[in-house]
Amino acid sequence: MNRSFRIELRRSNALPLVAAVLAVMVLSDFLLGERNSWDGNWMKLAAGGRSSLLVMVVFAVGAGAMQAGLDYRRGVVELFASTPRPRRSRVLPVALALAIASVLAYLLTFAIASAWVAPYATYANPLAIAGVVGVGAVTMVTAVWLGLLAGHLLPSRLTPPIASVLALLLMAVASEGLGSLGNGAALSLLLPDLSPSVEGAATVPGRVSALQAVWLLAVGVSALAAFVSARRRFRVLAVLPAVLALVLVAPQLPHGQGYIAAYTIDPRAAELVCAAGTPRVCVTRVDAARLTQVTAPARAALTALARLPHSPTAVIEQPRIEASTVKPPPSDRGDTVWMDLTPYGVDRRGRMDPEDIKDLTVQLLANVGVSADRCLRTGGMSSADFAASEISTAWLLGHPPTPDSRLPAGSQEQTRTGWTALTSVPAAEQRKRVATMRKALLTCRGDVYTILTKGKAR
């Protein structure tokens, strides 16, 4: 077994598989990936590896199917069947060699990519990351064994390409299809596809990874058993592990829709790290590498807000997985501006885009520094609300609003007329109106556009 395993390691598709996966991943990630820095965040890197499985399983399934088809191409199937040596002792070394190669390919890709994350990473939860990476590695093994089974059951020269393409389609389409099923357990987690969460403090709990690993490994074991068994009866029995795992795992998956159901906020990653000096500017531990870059624009926003009475005194990053479900902490009395860093990535040298840094001040001043989540206005904001936000931001920054193509239709015109209306009154009245708008947003009462343009809420 040991010796034949070593021979198969050299003779089979194992090494070409490693080489092909590495070559394609390195080419596509490092040449084509524009800002694939994973923000110096280990969890984003681990999840990024899981989403590249979409490409990697194509190679794993193809390598397995090609390998299993070789006996037929060589015309030795009947010859081998006539020997007293059991089939399993002949094919297990091949299956093992391919499995080890596929795991090696996956881990090497992760190791290479981690060179871009390690220098800027400020937080790691080793257990959760090992879980996410482990599920990816298990998926590669399962894919190789499914490929072996496909090549064995359908010995045609068309099998390897068709199996590869089907694997790609299954990964791409099935997760969408399963994701839209009902409101119960997130069945799309039965597939290993996992996109990085935009939120840095998000994590996949070890329990979710363990469930996924058990299920995927069971599918792999079923495929291997069916591939190894020489008799049809055993081949049918081989589906048992997969069915059993499905019944056990599916009800226990977290509830929700799509891969996002896998994520929760890691409380330790979300602990605050604050900049030296005042006013207070804090980010989560996991984003701490960005603290020095966001401090200046955040303080600029606080300085602009200081033109108003009872102005906020701190900027604090608020972790969020889905914007619509976030509510500010009950302690919030309007003395804090909540910062959302999810739209801003960092490049491969850990730096934020200068445009993003400029944009951050403007974003913090939106709605006069009051989070749109406070009254759950996200998505419910009217064009007048957007216009009011534009006008107040421009007023705080002391220059006329610049046309913004991202605004909904109608908002641009309202911004122009509203700005004229606001600036036509004396400075003291302008200040009073913006302060009233802020109060209205904090208490979720009043029409902000009317306050700005006419001075009174209707």
Binding site: P16, S28, L32, L54, R74, R157, V165
Partner: protein
Amino acid sequence: MRWTTLYLRSHRLPEALLTAALFTAVVWALTAMFGHHPAAAPNLVMMAASLAVVALSTTLNSTDDALDRTAARPWPPRRAAHLLGLAAGASILLALTLLTGTTFGPFGFALRDALGLTGLAALGAILVGPHRAWFPVVAWCTPVIFLAAGRQQVLTWMIQPAGNGPAALTAIVLAAAGILGYAVLGPPRRVQADLAGAGS
């Protein structure tokens, strides 16, 4: 004629054509069902082209390459014609969609992809053997499915707009290298030795 028929049949052309047509039809049907524009996205056209080429490239596989070589026939023009025929077949399959409501086009785009990918498959046949000729095609196209035509026009040549210079040049280089190389060199002898006495 008789020779051609026997040659094509021994290389399983009917099965390959059927599979290529099936692949194209499936991608076409999915695009027609879920797409919002009559012209399919470049990534989908590439997918259809690559699947057609993958299916057709299985005809490079012969039952016994070593035996083929012993035939006293001038092989280079025949191999070149075989590959050009595959590229033509793939382009015709894609061009058929121009008659329908969901198009894999423009024709220049489809022709470039079919030619370039056929060349890539031929290079695969030279380097890793005819039975793995499909592999470079799948390996190059799979990551590109998820990319947008922007930077790195040479690496993503299959999804660039029809008139793009670097993309067309890449396709021509691949096609020329693959078709000429395969015509002159044929399948590698190493793989033949590996498969000596192959039954199927």
